[in-house]
Amino acid sequence: MSMENPTGLYRYPVTKLCMVGTTMVTLVASIASCKYIFIAKYDPFISEYQQYFRLLTFQLGCVNETDMALLVLIWYQFRNLERLMGSLKYISVISLALIYTTVCLAGLNCLVNRILPWKIWNGLTTGCLPLVLALFHFYKEYTPQVYEFEVLLTQPWSQKSHRKQYKWILNDQFLVNALVAILLINQGVEGIICGFISWIIGVFLDKGLLPGMDRWRLPLMQHLLMPKDASNNQGVYENPGGETSEELLIRRDDREESPGASNGASPLDDENANDEPARPLGVQFLETFRT
């Protein structure tokens, strides 16, 4: 299982951002008691009150804490994608998928509700379910299956000779599949409808029917993601061979350096290292309580 990702979030800035963001937005909204801005029901909010902002905000936070927990777990599983694409491309794809799913779902929802007389699809989901479902296509497409295993089940309380054996074949991705399935069911019919549409959007995005996959990069993200990443380990990160930073950028972009790759992981040793290693702040606080 050497293909497994390293555990933890070291050098997964985008995954970290998504996990922390999902949690914090929900928590803060809950403390501020304004979770309702994530609810986008066509009737009454859109049709009666004309609160169109809800069509833009419905993906940003969850109303239900179960959804939040599921989404955080799924984001963690999706760190494969960040390793595969590199942080910059990953966050660009995320932003692109966010825009497409929001626009398509909001547009389709309004259209369906205007045209059809029945209320079959009254509301949109809360939380970033559509975004996750769009990325789910990428996950299934580009993450290879590493291993599979069988679960053998026999019927109890029957004769040994004609005992039927059930065999379940599960693979290493069954956790993600299960989480996504629960997430879809958790929001009822709306979850399944929105999830399906978003998954189609993911497919279109990948196949190029929806443009932007190759060229769209979030501006400024380069500066936010990379230098911080380089400076927060203790050693000084230097360009080998005198490359200018721009060249480095291009190169990195081209070969899509994976953040989880461990060759840069160990910090360089400081020449003037003291015998006692510098204690990080967390350790210092914990030592307060050590007796």
């Binding site: 403390i31 309702y36 009150y49 210092q284 606080f285 030592e287 307060t288 050590r290 007796t291």
Partner: protein, 765 residues
């Protein structure tokens, strides 16, 4: 845990104590049982008489209503008995022959308070939910004009005089028999402050001790049951009256009738008749009477009024009756005619269950009582007020929540600044220059805030989440970050304990104390943290209790306490100024020059100012902002009075402190001390006499092995001229006369202020 006989015994005793407390109705003796029985049977008889009461018949045997106003006026010595000969019980008119109100109060209620032009239910819209607390100013009309209606208290309420008493005494006592409480039975100020807290009573518990509550009111479109807490006080809060009343709110007409309830005034039975004070046609009146009687009956039945009475009720009814006047309160709400009923419903829904409906809550008008009269039949006091206003409770909660969120933001900013400051002073030498008292003051305020937040979270369940988050943020700031920092400051200053200021000015070194300091044991951080935490929590609890109890002090004392506490607690930079003066930093220009020199030599030197300017300014801003808000913004959520002058004084005081700190940064921290008073500090860089050097086993070339890097240190020896080319800055001599390379020892001193060889304390750089 092993359980032996003794432990088991203790557990059994504790369980016994738990289970042997009087449960349910709180009866703990035969006497109390009989008291409660008399109480219940009295109420049952009165309820029966209430059931027979109709729109055309008067009160019969109901406590507090046995005498009418004219009965007393005709014969002031008359006792409240039933039946009174020659009294007409079978008819009812709204005049002082039948009412307990004097004629002019009745007319004013009819014409001014419940004015006829508010009497068209279809014209005016009143909000059905008026939970709020109203503020206003109250005026005394008269306190000696009207005769006082005698209201006796049955003697079975009295507590037993002996242990052996089993049956409570019979009979009644009158006001003249009670111990003197004259000031409570009168209102002596002319104008005063009024607060009214309105709460809805929609559900009642139907069993003793059960938490389950049931709806009882089947006519919520007409009547609402309220609880009113009315408190009156004069401006200086020397005289304070607080009344707890039941009230009925006529939703269609915006009228509220509130009456206190006690052992001498069973007002619940009087609501149907007294709600009817109006100049109107009789049909409507009778309908009102019957409908209201039904509502009272529903309340009585659903709440099992008699069965759920406890000893606690009995005692509080008795206390209320002895200590306070009974009041009847007539209020008229202002209508919300700018809204339709649907809009008001949407507003209510949005306040109960926010979903972002377009209710425009920010423009919601206040709940206003346009006019009100308070009359006390047994004390003859009459008061009135106009325009008491207050925000809807739900709105108030929303605005408090916004303030709390802002406060959390401030806490987070403070945590960030503190982290920067901690990062800035990360060595014992630099931490040594920080004043413990400065951070203790900051810490005390934060800690007590955390406690107050935590307590109020249990008081205000609607705000539980933001309050607990604030308490958590504040607690993290106070007890983790600040205390942690205090511990390291304290640990670095242990050397200086029991050392006089003049010695400290010299840099913590004195020759005659060498023997003492050499043997001093420096305790480790865990023991320091233990003692500091204990001190922190003791200070915290005592300060919090003090400030909480201060809320109930009279206004003048309270204000003095508040102002002095704020001024003292905002002098947090003062100890740091003294500390700077003691430790003595160079002026900024010299420091920069030294730094450049040291950088050239490749030496790290610790002579920066101990406090970051970002931290100083940020902390001052964060801590002053709430005070400024509370004292200058007149409609603040704490209802604090406005005092701009005090805020200006406070800001000037803080600016003065900051200015002194800045001058210390620019001019050197001792600029205000006369040169002569500053003794010479300890210098690590000095030449050695040859004799001392021999004791340390110097080699022939006057060098010594540095115990840290084990390489040779060339020394400048006073007697030997050829060593005089050695720079004194390259080595350091400790007070315990050990010698190291400057770079080696300074590196070490950023971890510990102890001599690496003999462990005696080192004066910080």
């Amino acid at each position: 845990m092993e359980i032996d006989g003794n432990t088991l015994l203790i557990i059994i005793i504790i369980l016994f104590l738990f289970f042997s407390t009087p449960g349910g109705d709180g009866v703990s003796s035969q006497y109390e049982f009989n008291q409660l029985q008399s109480f219940k049977s009295q109420l049952n008889t009165e309820y029966e008489s209430f059931e027979q009461m109709s729109y055309n018949s008067g009160f019969r045997n109901i406590t507090g209503f046995k005498l009418s106003f004219n009965d007393v006026k005709d014969d002031p010595q008359r006792n409240a008995t039933y039946p009174i000969p020659s009294k007409d019980y079978d008819r009812w008119f709204q005049n002082q022959d039948y009412l307990i109100l004097p004629e002019d109060v009745t007319t004013r209620v009819k014409n001014e308070v419940w004015s006829p032009n508010m009497n068209k239910p279809e014209e005016n819209v009143f909000p059905p939910n008026i939970t709020s607390s109203l503020l206003g100013r109250i005026q005394l009309i008269s306190n000696n004009k009207h005769p006082r209606i005698p209201m006796p208290v049955p003697r079975f309420y009295e507590s037993p005089t002996e242990f052996s008493d089993v049956t409570p005494p019979e009979g009644e006592t009158y006001f003249k028999d009670w111990p003197a409480h004259s000031e409570l039975h009168n209102v002596t100020f002319d104008t005063g402050e009024l607060t009214i807290q309105l709460t809805h009573v929609d559900k009642v518990p139907s069993q003793l001790g059960s938490q389950k509550k049931k709806f009882f009111n089947s006519q919520t479109d007409r009547w609402k049951f309220l609880n009113l807490r009315i408190s009156l006080s004069d401006k200086s809060e020397h005289e304070r009256h607080s009344l707890y009343t039941n009230a009925i709110y006529d939703v269609r007409r915006g009228r509220i009738l509130a009456m206190t309830e006690s052992a001498k005034f069973h007002s619940l039975f009087a609501f149907p008749h007294y709600m009817n004070l109006q100049n109107d046609n009789d049909n409507d009146d009778e309908d009102t009477f019957d409908s209201l009687k039904k509502a009272v009956k529903e309340y009585w039945d659903k709440s099992n009024f008699v069965k759920t009475l406890t000893m606690g009720d009995l005692q509080s009814w008795y206390d209320e009756s002895i200590l306070k006047c009974e009041y009847m309160v007539f209020l008229q709400l202002s209508p919300w005619n700018q809204y339709t009923r649907d809009q008001i419903k949407m507003i209510d829904d949005e306040l109960n269950w926010p979903l972002g409906r377009p209710a425009n809550l920010s423009h919601l008008p206040p709940v206003t009582v346009s006019k009100g009269i308070l009359y006390s039949p047994d004390c003859g006091v009459e008061l009135e007020f106009h325009d008491a206003k207050g925000e809807r409770y739900g709105l108030k909660i929303r605005s408090i929540r916004t303030h709390l969120l802002f406060g959390i933001g401030l806490f987070i900013a403070q945590i960030y600044l503190l982290l920067c400051q901690m990062h800035h002073t990360n060595t014992p030498s630099s931490v040594n220059k920080i004043s413990v008292y400065c951070f203790s003051m900051i810490n005390l305020v934060d800690g007590s805030l955390a406690t107050i937040y935590f307590f109020s979270a249990s008081i205000l369940p609607e705000l539980y989440l933001p309050l607990v988050t604030s308490a958590f943020a504040c607690f993290i700031l106070a007890s983790v970050f600040e205390t942690r920092y205090l511990i390291s400051v304290y640990a670095s200053q242990l050397n200086e304990r029991n050392v006089g200021i003049s010695t400290l000015l010299r840099g913590g070194h004195s020759t005659n104390e060498d023997t003492d300091t050499a043997t001093a044991v420096v305790p480790d951080e865990s023991s320091i943290s233990g003692s500091l935490y204990a001190r922190f929590f003791f200070m915290l609890v005592s300060f919090t209790l003090l400030s909480m109890s201060a809320r109930w002090w009279p206004r003048k004392v309270r204000m003095m306490f508040e102002y002095s506490a704020i001024i003292v607690l905002n002098s947090y930079w003062l100890p740091q100024i003294f500390r700077n003066a003691i430790k003595g930093t160079l002026p900024r220009r010299n420091r920069l020059r030294n730094q450049r020199m040291n950088e050239a030599m490749g030496v790290r030197r610790q002579n920066k100012m101990p406090l970051l300017w970002k931290f100083v300014l940020g902390t001052t801003f964060i801590r002053t902002l709430p005070v400024v808000y509370v004292f200058t913004y007149s409609s603040n959520v704490f209802r604090h009075h406005r005092n701009v002058r005090f805020v200006v004084v406070l800001c000037l005081w803080l600016l003065f402190q900051i200015a002194v700190l800045y001058s210390q940064d620019i001019l050197g921290s001792r600029w205000f001390l006369p040169k002569l008073s500053i003794p010479e500090g300890y210098s690590y860089h000095k030449a050695m006499p040859a004799q001392d050097l021999l004791e340390h086993g110097s080699t022939a070339g006057y060098t010594i092995d540095c115990a840290i890097c084990m390489s040779e240190v060339p020394i400048r020896v006073e007697e030997v001229p050829e060593t005089h080319k050695v720079d004194e800055q390259t080595y350091m001599v400790t007070p315990c006369a050990h010698i190291f390379h400057t770079q080696c020892l300074e590196n070490w001193m950023s971890y510990k202020l102890q001599c690496p060889v003999c462990r005696s304390p080192l004066p910080p750089l």
